[in-house]
């Protein structure tokens, strides 16, 4: 009784729109929650042990699969920052976009964002290089600001610092850990600078276009296996349904649907015959209204593209 009463109240609230149905119905299974929790803990441990990219993965998980206790935006930014501090170019890329979007308490940090993206591309992230090519076009950021950001990023990376800890919430202990890679970061920056110099291209924007072309093409040409299966299955399901229908019709022509379609067809042709009989007098009766609507349509058309009643009448009469 109590349960029924509760359900009645809940359904009334949902029905009246006071409570979104999703809040009542959206429940995850216990297993799903447990599995997510285990994955989360494993990666958290790896991060604490000093695996460079683990904080980045943690943040990505928290961002895209908030099944359990969704982390706050500040927490996500902090994880990305720690991962970026270790020289993870993907984390630099995501962090750069966070700042560019002005999320959390980070509005008006366009320059810092561009520096982060530039750092990611200098450390070999093709996606960051690609985004930097497109940001001036899509967001209207000036090319001069982009050049400026690149110079700052190169300078910082040459000093072995992937991120500016004067404003970012870095972890002071992280640089003492064995996995920390300041030498590698500065080496990569030097290689980038050298290659740029050798390419003979003056503007860094032009140089970016030469980077990672093969990787991008490889990405775009490969459909993920999951997607392939989905496409294949969708096609297969539709094909099977069609074949089953055809088979049923072939086996039993009196099958209900077949008979129904026949009836529909017969009705249609008999209706068309009858309508044809009255064609002349019907169009005469409707002429005034058709002319009126054509006049309204022509009001919005160019004088050279007007339509005439006679033309329309011919088309109407041509119809089966």
């Amino acid at each position: 009784m109590r349960y029924n009463f509760l359900m009645l109240v809940l359904s009334m609230l949902v029905y009246s729109g006071m409570l979104p149905a999703g809040q009542v119905l959206k429940q995850y299974t216990v297993k799903e929650r447990q599995l997510e929790q285990v994955k989360f803990s494993v990666i958290e441990e790896l991060a604490e042990e000093g695996v460079n990219s683990a904080y980045g993965v943690l943040a990505k998980m928290g961002e895209s699969r908030p099944l359990i206790n969704p982390p706050s935006q500040d927490q996500l930014i902090h994880w990305y920052t720690l991962s970026a501090q270790s020289g993870n170019s993907s984390a630099l890329l995501w962090l750069g976009h966070y700042f560019l979007h002005g999320e959390g308490n980070n509005t008006g940090r366009e320059h810092d964002a561009l520096v982060l993206l530039a750092s990611a591309s200098i450390l070999g992230n093709v996606d960051a290089a690609n985004d930097l090519i497109l940001i001036p076009k899509v967001l209207g950021v000036s090319y001069a600001r982009l050049e400026e950001a690149f110079h700052d990023a190169l300078q910082r990376l040459s000093n072995g610092q992937p991120i500016d800890c004067s404003w970012a919430r870095c972890s002071p202990g992280l640089s003492q850990q064995p996995g920390f890679v300041s030498d590698k970061v500065s080496a990569k920056a030097k290689i980038f600078h050298e290659n740029w110099r050798q390419s003979g291209v003056v503007k860094v924007y032009q140089y970016l276009k030469l980077l990672g072309v093969e990787e991008l093409l490889a990405q775009s040409n490969s459909t993920s296996p999951k997607e392939k299966i989905r496409i294949k299955n969708a096609g297969k399901l539709k094909k099977n349904a069609r074949l089953a229908r055809e088979k049923r019709l072939a086996e039993n022509p009196d099958w209900e649907m077949g008979a129904y379609l026949d009836r529909l067809k017969n009705r249609k042709s008999s209706a068309q015959d009858a309508l044809r009989h009255y064609e002349g007098q019907d169009f005469a009766q409707l002429e005034k209204d058709i002319r009126h609507t054509i006049n309204l349509i022509n009001f919005h058309r160019d004088p050279d593209a007007q339509i005439s009643y006679e033309e329309i009448l011919q088309l109407m009469k041509k119809a089966p």
Binding site: D131, V138, L286, I290, T293, D302
Partner: protein, 531 residues
């Protein structure tokens, strides 16, 4: 034991009585709530119709002319940020669409497909030709005729003006035009182009029942307006475009994707406003769809001619809002309807259109569209119904002429609160108006989570004129509810009231003529039943 019973039992009884009284009160409250909300809905309906009609009638039509669009076209062109970039870089303009086009690019031996990216400025087609300066990419074939062999992407920082020009989008090179910015098109022709045949290219033969299956057609050129974009188009012709692809590849489409949480460039674009546009006095023919929209807002389609498009002539879809589809001519949609709005396209107006000889219905409201005003249209000689309202509650069908359609003049299916007023319903092949509940649970093509429906239908028919409909003036099936008021009936078929209405013909006749007042209660639909 006895003592215990005497102590406990009265308490239990008292509790039971309390529960019964409480439940009774609760049920009465709920009933009052339902009845008051229904009567409020009826009052709201009349007010809403009044407002919608006066809004439409008060429109200043002089600002929606070809000349008005021409005046909007920017006169000053500037900018030089036009370059050809690898298409693979543009992951955010629709990766699935790019993926589909790979088929054409590979067939043409284009290993590194590129797209012309137009940014930071206002450009004419001549500007693009000059800035790209490569005839293998954009070729000027005649005066003001340009053949594009690479797709074009207009970013949100740019506008493209196509005026007094003919644009041919190469079929063989897999060309499309996608815009996040503004597109101005006036006095122009945009077609697909088969260089070998020297025409817009034959469509491949695909069986009718496979036309809407994904992956069955070779991609063709298309125009797609994305999030935040705007299109102003007048006195132009668009033909030969579109195919069944994943998103907005149907011809000319205005489309916003669902917002996703992502922090690369998708995020900026998908967070932008819904796209909008004016299409005035244009002609659309031989496209897969004449017009398609998804989550568009305030789009105005006026004075356009749509004919011979493969599936639909006009098809605003998914959550588009406040559209005005008025004074258009749509005929001969080869597979389906002249004008269809589908999946929660709300608060829109379909008015003063002439829709005839389409393979499906003249006008259709489908899948939970509400607050639509279907006003003063002419639907004549369509192979389906004149005006069909499918699974869509709270709509108004007013002052239309629906004649000589092969099926019904007006067909209301699984829809409640349909207000049909002052229509002239003349010589339709089946009934003048049919109100029916149809079980579509087994419809293979329908996703009922996305498009739920209820098994009830109800309509108010007031002040309509039913004349010479072949089977009956009015019919109802499977417990469709009708209320009739001041309608005029002439010559219709063998009987005025057919189907389930036949036994109640006398009552309906009296109700219609006011002998017994049209009971508002008879218009109250049953509670919806989910499939």
């Amino acid at each position: 034991m006895i003592a215990l019973e005497s102590v406990v039992k009265p308490k239990c009884l008292a509790n039971n009585n309390k529960i019964k009284v409480f439940t009774g009160v609760f049920v009465v409250v709920i009933m009052l709530f339902v009845v008051s909300s229904v009567s409020a809905q009826q009052t709201n309906h009349a007010d809403k119709l009044k407002t919608m009609l006066s809004d439409y009638r008060d429109m200043d039509w002089s600002q929606y002319t070809v000349e008005a669009v021409r005046r909007r076209i920017p006169k000053k062109m500037y900018g030089s940020d036009v370059e050809s970039l690898l298409s693979a870089r543009l992951y955010f303009i629709g990766s699935q669409n790019i993926q589909e086009m790979q088929e054409v690019w590979q067939a043409q031996g284009i290993a590194r497909p590129k797209t012309i990216v137009v940014a930071n400025g206002v450009y004419s087609v001549a500007d693009l030709h000059r800035l790209i300066d490569d005839d293998s990419v954009i070729e000027k074939t005649k005066d003001d005729t340009y053949l594009f062999r690479q797709p074009v992407y207009v970013t949100s920082t740019a506008s493209l003006v196509i005026s007094d020009a003919t644009i041919r989008l190469s079929l063989l090179h897999g060309v499309f035009l996608v815009a996040d910015g503004q597109l101005f098109i006036a006095d122009a022709v945009i077609t697909s182009w088969d260089e070998r045949a020297g025409n817009e290219g034959e469509r491949e033969e695909v069986p009718a029942n496979e036309l809407l299956l994904y992956g069955r057609q070779t991609p063709r050129p298309y125009i797609l307006m994305n999030e935040g974009s705007q299109i102003y188009m007048a006195n132009s012709r668009v033909s030969g475009l579109g195919y069944k692809g994943k998103r907005g590849t149907f011809g000319l489409s205005i489309s916003k994707r669902p917002f996703v949480v992502t922090h690369r460039l998708h995020g900026y674009i998908r967070a932008r406003a819904k796209p909008a546009g004016w299409l005035i006095g244009n002609t659309f023919t031989n496209n897969f769809f004449g017009f398609y929209s998804n989550q568009a807002e305030d789009v105005i389609l006026l004075g356009n001619v749509y004919y011979d498009n493969v599936i639909y002539n006009i098809d605003p879809h998914d959550y588009s809002e406040r559209l005005i589809i008025a004074r258009n001519l749509t005929y001969n949609a080869r597979q389906a309807h002249g004008i269809i709005i589908s999946r929660e396209v709300n608060n829109s107006t379909i008015a003063e259109n002439l829709s005839f000889s389409n393979k499906g219905s003249g006008i259709m409201l489908d899948r939970n569209c509400s607050n639509t005003l279907v006003y003063s249209n002419l639907t004549i000689g369509n192979e389906g119904d004149g005006i069909a309202v499918f699974e869509s509650d709270n709509n108004f069908v007013v002052d239309n002429i629906t004649a000589r359609n092969v099926r019904n003049g007006i067909y209301v299916r699984n829809s409640d609160y349909i207000n049909t007023k002052n229509n002239f319903i003349f010589r339709n092949g089946n009934a003048g108006a049919e109100t029916a509940v149809v079980d579509i649970d087994k419809l293979e093509t329908r996703n009922f989570k996305l498009d739920p429906y209820h098994k009830s239908a109800s309509a108010l028919y007031e002040g309509n004129q039913f004349d010479s409909n072949l089977h009956a003036a009015m019919t109802a099936k499977n417990k469709g509810v009708v209320t009739v008021k001041n309608n005029k009936f002439y010559n219709s078929g063998p009987i005025f009231f057919g189907g389930e209405l036949a036994p109640f013909a006398e009552n309906l006749w009296h109700q219609n003529n006011g002998a017994t007042p049209a009971s508002e209660a008879s218009h109250i639909p049953r509670q919806p039943v989910s499939p």
